[in-house]
C-alpha cells in the first residue's frame, strides 16, 4: 500500500484557524508543495501580511516574517537584498496587496525584485469582517458597501495581474483559481513556475489566486466556489499575463 497523497513537508502540522471551506488552506498547500518540489525548504523565507493569513507563519515549516499591512513586498525586498541566494515569497490578500500596499507591489514589480508573490484575491476584507476590497465586484454587498459597490461612488475592481503586466520587471504573472480539481492542478503549476522564475533570477513573479470567503460572502463553502466561477471569473479572467519564457503573454 502506497501513500499517494500526504501533507507536504513544508506545511506545518498545526491546525489552521481559517473558516470552514476557506480556500486560503488550499493555497497554503500549493505553496508548500512548490517549495518542497523545488527542494527549497531550508532556504526559503516567507512574509505574511495583515489579513486572515497573518498567522501563516504558524502553518509553514519555514522561516517567516510578519509584515505591516500592505508592506510585505518592501519587507521581502529588504530580506532578498541581504540574502540574494535565498528564496523569498510574500503571501498577501487583496486588501493588503491591492489597496494599502498598491505602491509597494507596483514598485516591487517595476524593480524586477526577485521575489515571488502569492496574491489571494477573495474580493473582500476577510479578517476585519467583510469590508469592500479594491477587487470587490460592482454591485457586491459588503459591510462598507451596504447598497452594493456602486461604480459612481467607489469605482471599479482593480485587475492586479493585468496592471502589473505592464511592468518590464515582471518575469511571470498568472491568475489562477482553486475551485475545482482541474483549476487546483493548474494553480499548482503556476506556483511552481513563479518560484522557478525567482530561482533562475528572471525577476518578479506573482500568482493571483481567486479564492473564497464563505464567511463574509454569506455563502456555504460550495456556493462560494460557484460564485468564484460565475461572478469573479468574468471580471478576473484566468491566464498567464507575463512569462519570461514566451515574452509578454
Amino acid at each position: 500500500m502506497r501513500k499517494i497523497f500526504e501533507r507536504p513537508k513544508s506545511l506545518a502540522e498545526a491546525a489552521q484557524h481559517y473558516c470552514p471551506g476557506c480556500t486560503h488552506g488550499i493555497v497554503h498547500r500549493l505553496v508548500a508543495e512548490a517549495v518542497d518540489e523545488l527542494g527549497l525548504a531550508g532556504r526559503t523565507i516567507g512574509v505574511s501580511p495583515v489579513g486572515c493569513s497573518v498567522f501563516a507563519y504558524n502553518y509553514f515549516n519555514l522561516d517567516f516574517v510578519q509584515a505591516a499591512h500592505g508592506r510585505a513586498p518592501a519587507v521581502a525586498t529588504g530580506l532578498k537584498r541581504v540574502l540574494p541566494d535565498r528564496v523569498v515569497f510574500t503571501y498577501q490578500g487583496d486588501g493588503d496587496l491591492a489597496s494599502i500596499g498598491a505602491a509597494e507591489i507596483v514598485h516591487a514589480a517595476a524593480r524586477g525584485e526577485k521575489i515571488t508573490v502569492v496574491f489571494v484575491n477573495n474580493a473582500i476584507y476577510g479578517m476585519t469582517g467583510g469590508q469592500m476590497a479594491p477587487t470587490t465586484l460592482v454591485g457586491q454587498k459588503t459591510t462598507t458597501s451596504p447598497y452594493g459597490r456602486q461604480q459612481e461612488v467607489a469605482g471599479y475592481p482593480i485587475r492586479v495581474a493585468e496592471m502589473l503586466s505592464t511592468m518590464e520587471g515582471a518575469a511571470y504573472i498568472a491568475r489562477v483559481a482553486v475551485i475545482s480539481p482541474q483549476s487546483v492542478a493548474r494553480a499548482r503549476k503556476a506556483m511552481l513556475k513563479a518560484f522557478t522564475a525567482q530561482l533562475e533570477g528572471k525577476g518578479f513573479s506573482l500568482v493571483e489566486v481567486l479564492s473564497t470567503c464563505p464567511t463574509n460572502w454569506g455563502m456555504t463553502p460550495v456556493e462560494a466556489l460557484k460564485w468564484v466561477e460565475t461572478a469573479m471569473m468574468p471580471v478576473f479572467p484566468l491566464g498567464v499575463f507575463r512569462d519570461w519564457e514566451v515574452g509578454e503573454a
Binding site: I45, A68, V75, A76, L79, R86, E104
Partner: protein, 359 residues
Amino acid sequence: MGEKMLMKGNEAIGEAAIKAGCRFFFGYPITPQNELPEYMSRRLPEVGGVFLQAESEVAAINMVYGASCAGGRVMTSSSSPGISLKQEGISYLAGSELPAVIVNIVRGGPGLGGIQPAQSDYFQATRGGGHGDYRTLVYAPSTIQEMVDLVMMAFDKADAYRNPVLVLGDGILGQMMEPVEFPDEPPPEPLAKPWATTGAEGRPPNIISSIILDPELLDKHNWHLMEKYEQIRKKETRWEIYDPYEAEIFLVAYGTMARVARAAIEAAHSRGIDCGLVRPITLWPFPERAFDELADRARAYLSVEMSTGQMVDDVKIAAAGRAPVYFYGRAGGVVPSPAEIVKKIELIFEEIKGGSKRA
C-alpha cells in the same frame, strides 16, 4: 584614528555607517539630507553593499524591517515629513525587537514647512511618534565628529538591545563641514543574530512578528520591552555639563543649539552673568540624573530650542519643581542667536534675584 578630513555632516554619517559595518541602506530623497543617500549610492556598491532608493519613506522603513530580519546592518534616513511617514514602521521595529539605525535631519514644520534646520521633532523622537508603548534610543550629536562617533555607536547599541536607534540632527549638522576622523580599526565582528530569518536549514524555523492577540501575553511582551528600556536608561544615558563659571543658571540645549548656547554663555559671562549648560547627548533616555547632580546649585533652567518648546517638558520633569524652568526658542529654521539668548538670560537673572523658586 585616521587622517583628518573635512566632510559634510550628511556624508560623514554615511561614511561612519560604512565604517560601522552597515551594508544596506534604503531611503527616499528629501532636503536637507540628500547627500546621505547620494553618498551611500556611490559608496555602498564599492564595499559590496546595497543602496536602494525606495518608492517612499513607508517602503524604505519596511525594507529596513526586512533587511534587519535577515540579519543585515541596515540604515535609513529622512527629514521631518518623511520621518512622520515612518512612524508605523518604527513601531513595528520596536515591537518585533529589530535593530536598525534611523537618521532624522530635522527641518522646520509643521506640514511641508521649510527646509532650514529645526529641532521641532523632539517630541516625535523621544515619545514615539508611532503607536504603542515603545522607546528608541535617541542620539543628538552637536559636532560632525560626535555625529560620526554616535552613528557608529548607534549600530552597536541597536544590535545589542535589538531596538531601533534614532540619530537626530538638523539641517545645519547635515549640511555643515567640519574636520572629522574615522577609526582605523575594522569594525568589530558583528553580534551573532541567531534569531534572524535566513532560511531554516538545520534548525527550527525562526519567526519574526509583532502580533500578539492574547492581552495577557501582549501585556507581558510590553513589560519585557519596558525592562529593556529600563536597562537602556541605566546604561546608555549620556550628557555633558559645561560649567566653567560655577553657575546658578543652567541652559539646557542639544545639537546645533548647544553650540550656540555655549557662545551665549560666553557672551553672558562678558556681561557679568554666569551660566552653565546641560547638554543631553541622549534625548531618550533624557539625562534626569544631570539635574539631580545640579539640584543643590541650579536656581533656574533655561531650555533653548530651535522649536516653540518641546524638550522643555523633559526639563520640567527632571527639575521636578526644584528650580523654575524657562524657555526660549525660535522655529521654522531660525537659529536663535547668542544675543537673543543673552537677553533672555538677563530677564531670568532679574527674576530669580527676586528669589521666587517656581516659574
